[in-house]
């Protein structure tokens, strides 16, 4: 029974579209920032000179800014705009509270500005897509709660009994993102801008990729699917192709997605069963993902002529095609033998940009082309400009993806090439970088085309806004109240149970929470309780104070964006970098530094590979020791001093999170660090004319790099028990 059929008293109300306009504008502004920073970092990879030797402009610091701006600023504001617009229409109710809407909007913008002011200055957790430090983490939690209250409050006071499928996806988003963010961000502060996560090593890796993977699932997928289920039928003027399919799509996606995180950790030190579980569930994801895509595309049956002429449908139909492509590629990359080739290479970069630019970007553009004329009660200024945007953007994405596919597969094949005598054909990592570097220019060009298309859209929407009639009055709407007799618990016994569930918002939300907690528990519980059934190996020594200081600088500079510290059990990895990494080796790493991309070589066994002077020269001018390197220079490390005094507090916090430092070690941390720094500086002085470096940050970085992989007792034990390296088929 539809709302208008009911015999209840009519209520008059107005939608809060001001907040939708605000979030739409923020989407456009932050989208510009995200895309521009993306092009800068793409160019920096093509030509290292573009790092300019300036700390806050370096790739390692800007890359997290790009990802955060794209995901949380552009994507975040887009989903808030779309959710607030569609929820009000689907519930036939104004948003729960105008003040909460305002707090949500300004709070979220403040979080984004905080990110922009901290990440370029090296204030970071060093956990991908969760880089923001603890005060900002708390702010995110509070603002998310505000969003949740506002959303659930609106659904609670709705005038439409039935919760449409788009609302289910929004519920899944709100519930799951809250769980993911809180669990992954449990950390102990050292100072206002530094903290250590409570998890370490394998634990941290699992929790982080459970978060990272599901951030993609529940921040970049489920809310956009909800928007798709609302805006495509709305723009096409047709109901969704199959409501049955949407039910199966929703529940299978929610249940399955959460299990798939370990596919980011294949061939690592993660237990085999967890890797296999992640792989199997990733492959199973094919079904619901394609179910959703097919449901969206078939909604357009009978209106394909409109797809040719209407920008909204054109962008949305194409976004669904990119969604289908990305969700085919994701499970494919999760198959262990494919992952062996593609992981750590640009293939993954192609995959994620197909998703973010094609799926999230184009769906958002389609939504904006719908929202701006609708909200301002006018027509789109120019369909021709929208067409130019469409084709510029599409060609840009394709150039980006094809160049990165080529780059990733080329480098992956070169890195695994082994000759007849069992030796690496390309033992020098830089040799593979030289081969793919020209493709980085094509990628940057593709990204620039995408930005140009976006700017055309900005102009088009600005002109549309100018066309809007002046002195517009707020529209009022009427709908019958949802009385107690309408409430879902009064449904007759013949009403299908899912239909009843769709009217029960609390029960629905609890079921979603159960589904994601079930999958999460299976994925991370065995690792979280590992200390209760597997004794810790005492042969691994924690970091010295100077090494810890160096490690924090390594994280701060964003070295993990280009260097992994995880030698997989694959033959090519073992031949190139040494013995496969073991779980114990990162047991005191808060946070873990396994990385997700190798623009440079793995560093897990870097310690002792080169003398201190090599590292000194390498950080000052990488080309002086590795002629074809594309690494930036780090001149400020030779000027800035180590903060020795904070080491006592850092050691104390490390002890709190489980690193076995003694009270004496904590008390004497600054003294011990100074002594080790002096020793390294004197060594450098003996080999070169370099003098007076004992307080400089470069010394701490050298201490840390020389420590990596140096656990003689552990390696000795591993020699006796290690299985042979695997060969991926």
């Amino acid at each position: 029974m539809s709302t208008t059929d009911r015999k209840q008293p009519m209520e008059t109300f107005a939608y809060d579209d001001d907040i939708v306009k605000k979030f739409s504008l923020a989407t456009i502004i932050w989208g510009g920032v995200a895309f521009l920073v993306g092009i800068i970092v793409a160019l920096q990879l093509a030509d290292w000179h573009l790092n300019f030797g300036v700390s806050w402009l370096t790739f390692g610091r800007l890359r997290p800014l790009h990802t955060n701006a794209a995901i949380f600023a552009f994507g975040g504001n887009a989903i808030f705009a779309g959710i607030y617009y569609s929820t009000q229409r689907l519930c036939k109710a104004r948003l729960f509270n105008d003040m909460l809407s305002k707090i949500h909007f300004w709070g979220w913008q403040l979080i984004i500005v905080s990110a922009a002011l901290t990440l370029p200055f090296g204030i970071t957790h060093g956990k991908e897509y969760a880089e923001l430090e603890w005060p900002i983490d708390i702010a995110i939690t509070l603002i998310w709660v505000v969003f949740a209250i506002n959303f659930f409050g609106t659904v609670w006071k709705r005038r439409e009994k039935h919760m449409y499928v788009a609302l289910w996806f929004y519920i899944a988003t709100i519930v799951t993102v809250a769980v993911l963010h809180i669990v992954n961000s449990i950390e102990v502060p050292v100072t206002w801008y530094k903290s250590y996560p409570v998890y370490a090593g394998v634990q941290d890796a699992l929790v982080q990729w459970w978060y990272g993977h599901n951030a993609v699932a529940f921040f970049l997928t489920t809310p956009f699917l909800g928007l798709m289920y609302f805006f495509i039928p709305k723009a096409a003027g047709r109901p969704v192709y199959s409501y049955r399919l949407s039910i199966v799509h929703f529940w299978s996606l929610v249940f399955i997605y959460i299990w798939a995180g370990p596919h980011h950790l294949l061939y690592t030190a993660l237990p085999d069963w967890a890797q296999t579980l992640g792989m199997v569930f990733s492959v199973m994801l094919w079904a619901p993902s394609w179910g959703g895509m097919i449901n969206g595309l078939l909604t357009l049956r009978g209106t394909w002529d409109k797809v040719r002429t209407e920008p909204v449908l054109k962008f949305m139909a194409t976004s669904l095609t990119f969604y289908g492509m990305s969700t085919f590629e994701g499970p494919l990359l999760s198959i262990k033998s494919v992952s062996a080739l593609g992981h750590y290479t640009d293939w993954i970069i192609a995959h994620v940009h197909g998703g973010t630019l094609g799926w999230n970007g184009f769906l958002t553009f389609g939504m904006l082309y719908y929202l701006i004329p609708t909200l301002y009660k006018t027509e789109l200024f120019s369909k021709r400009l929208a067409n130019i945007h469409f084709w510029t953007g599409t060609i840009g994405i394709l150039l980006y993806m094809i160049s990165m596919w080529t780059s990733g597969i080329t480098q992956g094949l070169m890195l695994r090439a082994i000759d007849g005598s069992g030796k690496l054909v390309y033992p020098d990592f830089a040799e593979t970088v030289v081969r793919i570097a020209p493709l980085y220019w094509i990628r940057a060009f593709g990204g620039t085309l995408f930005l140009v298309g976006f700017l055309v859209m900005c102009y088009n929407l600005y002109k549309t806004w100018q066309l809007a009639p002046k002195n517009q009055k707020q529209d009022l709407y009427q709908a019958p109240a949802l009385s107690a007799t309408d409430s879902a618990h009064k449904d007759s016994s013949s009403t299908p149970w899912h239909r009843r569930l769709e009217g029960l918002m609390p029960a629905f939300s609890v079921l979603v929470l159960f589904g994601i907690i079930l999958g999460s528990a299976i994925e991370i519980l065995p690792t979280l309780i590992v200390h209760t059934y597997a004794p810790a190996n005492s042969t691994v020594a924690p970091y010295t104070p100077l090494e810890l200081a160096g490690r924090d600088l390594y994280i701060s500079e964003g070295c993990y964006n280009c260097h992994s510290q995880m030698i997989r059990t694959l033959r090519e990895d073992v031949l190139r970098y040494g013995k496969a990494s073991m779980p114990e080796e990162s047991m005191y790493d808060h946070p873990f530094q396994w990385g997700s991309k190798r623009t440079g070589p793995d560093l897990a066994r870097e310690g002792g590979k080169y003398p201190d002077l090599w590292h000194y020269r390498h950080m000052l001018d990488p080309r002086s020791v590795t002629p074809n390197s594309i690494m930036p220079t780090y001149p400020w490390l030779f000027d800035d001093n180590i903060d020795f005094d904070v080491l006592t507090k850092k050691f104390s916090v490390m002890q709190t999170v489980g690193v076995p430092y003694t009270e004496d070690q904590i008390k004497n941390a600054p003294t011990a660090a100074r002594a080790q720094a002096l020793q390294i500086a004197q060594g450098l002085s003996a080999d070169s004319p370099v003098k007076g470096l004992e307080n400089k940050q470069i010394i701490a970085i050298i201490a840390y790099l020389q420590r990596l992989g140096k656990n003689p007792e552990l390696l000795k034990t591993a020699d006796q028990t290690a299985p042979a390296a695997e060969v991926a088929q």
């Binding site: 539809s2 709302t3 208008t4 008059t12 569609s86 229409r89 689907l90 036939k92 005038r159 439409e160 039935h162 449409y164 499928v165 788009a166 289920y229 609302f230 039928p233 709305k234 003027g237 047709r238 109901p239 969704v240 199959s242 409501y243 049955r244 039910i247 199966v248 529940w251 299978s252 249940f255 399955i256 030190a269 237990p271 085999d272 069963w273 579980l277 529209d475 009022l476 709407y477 009427q478 709908a479 009403t495 299908p496 149970w497 899912h498 239909r499 769709e502 079930l518 999958g519 528990a521 299976i522 519980l525 065995p526 590992v530 209760t532 059934y533 597997a534 073991m582 779980p583 114990e584």
Partner: protein
């Protein structure tokens, strides 16, 4: 180490149980949505985005 962790994990039934819950729910859901009698509910629900609230002053 990996094998040690595997053999010592104290709740090997946990992943199996979770998988069974998931599969049972999924099959139940498939059967439920496939029933012909559900059609009118689904058809009505599918049109919800197209049912705008009445503008005040229109058709009253």
């Amino acid at each position: 180490m990996k094998q040690e962790i595997l053999t010592q994990f104290p709740w090997p039934w946990l992943p199996t149980l979770a998988l069974m819950i998931f599969v049972t729910f999924f099959i139940g859901l498939l059967i439920n949505v496939s029933m012909k009698s559900r059609r009118k509910f689904f058809d009505a629900a599918a049109t919800l985005p197209l049912q705008d609230a009445q503008k005040y002053g229109e058709n009253l």
